[in-house]
Amino acid sequence: MTQLEENGHASLVRDLLQLPRTFTFKRYRIDLIGFLGAWAMVAGFIVFYYWMSKW
């Protein structure tokens, strides 16, 4: 682990098979926050589209 990886820059994709052993929120902080934020955007898009279909 490099210093940046220890502090949130580790990659969920690269470590996918080792995640049960390596996972901590701190280590994957940037991946997790952005990924979950992007899914929130997806949910927002779908809610908006459903709402629009009922206008």
Binding site: M1, T2, Q3, L4, E5, H9, S11, L12, V13, R14, L16, L17, I30, D31, G34, F35, G37, A38, W39, M41, V42, F45, I46, F48, Y49, Y50, M52, S53, K54, W55
Partner: protein, 492 residues
């Protein structure tokens, strides 16, 4: 020839075309090396990566195709493009992978990971895909713009090709990315410009609901319809597996200055595109009221008809500029990426070893011209824009599985990769010949691919440690800590 544009429209169009050519040539002065031509020396900030993602990922034919699909399928027509909505969050976590590989093309990854033969086959296929994509985009644009302007399709195709060829050949990715920043604004304009005029004409959403059948407001088609949840799910899965081997992916996701530039730019550029897609769908729905009775085979004409019938003088010129901007952003990027694949992954290893950088820059410029010419020829032979789009999404996972497994499982090897690609390809095309629908063929193809790469890799010898170190060692080192890279000498 019947010209329908006003003088004001022609002025707007001329200012746009001359303007982007000048900007493109101006920024081209900075390009002195092949690395600058292919990757912009990995110096792009967030906004340029965003514009690059939006411009490279958006083509006129997509707007035309989605509007046409919405004309016959209603709001569910959006899924032709929104299949990528569910893949977009993954861009956030994939961007650092592409940036950390520190490579110019995906073919370079395959060369290091699975050997030269796999890399050469991928490069050749992708150059063909670039030509095909360029052809689809040019055809879609020419078909749409011709009825608006009264100018023959072939003239439009030639003008578009000449302009983006001038700046792309001169400035490579630097010119393309800079101009995409301008083109991005035009893409947004294109998506929403007609809606206020259309809604005014049909009496708003209330008017739309009064005239259009209820089924057209369903987000998914009913069972037996064009886009069922199963079809959408299979398209999403294929899209996610295939996106990683799109031949231009490295130039979009791997050219930012930092990993955050790549993450933010790639993800948000694509979210902007998803939002634009809503505008295209609504345009198709408005056309149901405005232009009833258009046969299924001609449904892709409704976008152009909406432009002519809804927009006032001046704005038609702006819309035509936007349509041209979209296709030029898209094709110019493919041209540069295609030339990178040819120069670095076919020409350099097979013909021109140990030549000067200036020589490779010249080869890149010439090959970009040839790829564009091939795309231009193919474009004249396409039958349906939407049909061709579905075909692409189905083909890419055949290779995408080998990439995904290749970055998460070091034990995967070249024998497994070949077995995966050939096996899943055979299953896909075999089931298609047998008459199975695209979605079922994709499912069988993906399952076969995963099983084959795992089983065959287990049964054969692993890849050499040195090759694996070039991939996995680099993936461990975030951008900014290059002093920790396992080996020197690579272009970063």
């Amino acid at each position: 020839m019947h010209i329908t544009l006003s003088i004001l429209d022609w002025i707007v169009l001329a200012v746009y075309l001359v303007g982007i050519t000048i900007i493109g040539l101006f920024v081209s002065r900075k390009v002195k090396t092949s690395s600058g031509f292919f990757t912009g020396n990995r110096s792009f900030g967030k906004m340029i990566v965003l514009a690059q993602a939006l411009g490279t990922g958006t083509s006129t034919d997509q707007a035309v195709g989605v509007a046409g699909a919405a004309y016959t399928a209603g709001l569910s027509g959006i899924w032709y493009q929104w299949i990528w909505l569910f893949t977009t969050p993954f861009y956030w976590i994939l961007a650092p992978i592409f940036r950390r590989l520190r490579m110019t093309t995906i073919a370079e990854f395959f060369n290091k990971r699975y050997g030269r033969a796999y890399s050469l086959a991928y490069a050749a296929l992708c150059i063909y895909l670039f030509a095909l994509w360029t052809g689809i985009a040019i055809k879609g644009t020419a078909e749409t713009v011709s009825p608006i302007t009264g100018v023959p399709e072939w003239v439009i195709a030639v003008v578009v090709v000449v302009i983006f060829t001038i700046y792309s050949t001169a400035g490579g990715l630097v010119a393309v990315a800079t101009i995409n920043f301008v083109q991005g604004l035009f893409i947004i304009l294109l998506s929403f410009m007609m809606l206020p005029f259309g809604f005014h004409k049909v009496g708003g959403f209330a008017g739309l609901h009064r005239t259009v059948p209820v089924s057209f407001f369903e987000v998914f088609s009913r069972p037996g319809g064009e886009l069922t949840p199963f079809v959408v799910a299979m398209l999403v899965l294929s899209g996610l597996i295939g996106i990683v081997v799109q031949p231009h992916i490295m130039s979009v996701a791997g050219t930012g200055k930092t990993e955050m530039d790549c993450r933010f730019g790639w993800t948000s550029g694509n979210f902007i595109k998803r939002f634009c897609t809503v505008g295209w769908t609504l345009t198709g729905l408005l056309a149901v009221v405005l232009f009833p009775g258009i046969p299924f085979a001609h449904r892709e004409r409704v976008f152009g008809m909406a432009v002519v019938n809804l927009l006032p003088s001046g704005l038609i010129g702006l819309m035509v500029s936007s349509l041209l901007a979209t296709v030029m952003a898209y094709c110019s990027s493919f041209m540069v990426n295609g030339s990178a694949l040819f120069t670095r992954d076919l020409y350099k290893p097979l013909i021109g070893h140990h030549k000067s950088d200036a020589h490779y820059l010249m080869v890149a410029r010439i090959s970009s011209l040839v790829i564009m010419a091939a795309g231009f020829s193919l474009g004249l032979k396409m039958s349906s824009v939407v049909g061709s789009t579905v075909q692409f999404i189905s083909i890419l996972p055949i290779i995408g599985i080998a990439f995904w497994i290749g970055i998460i499982w070091p034990r995967a090897n070249r024998y497994g990769a070949w077995a995966c690609t050939l096996g899943s390809g055979s299953v896909f095309f075999g089931t298609k010949l047998y008459g199975l629908p695209n979605a079922w063929s994709s499912l069988y193809c993906m399952v076969t691919g995963v099983v084959l790469i795992v089983v065959v890799s287990w049964l054969t010898k692993p890849e050499p440690t040195a090759s694996l170190e070039r991939i996995f060692g680099y993936l461990k080192v975030p951008v900014g800590e290059e002093n920790l890279l396992p080996q020197g000498g690579d272009e970063l």
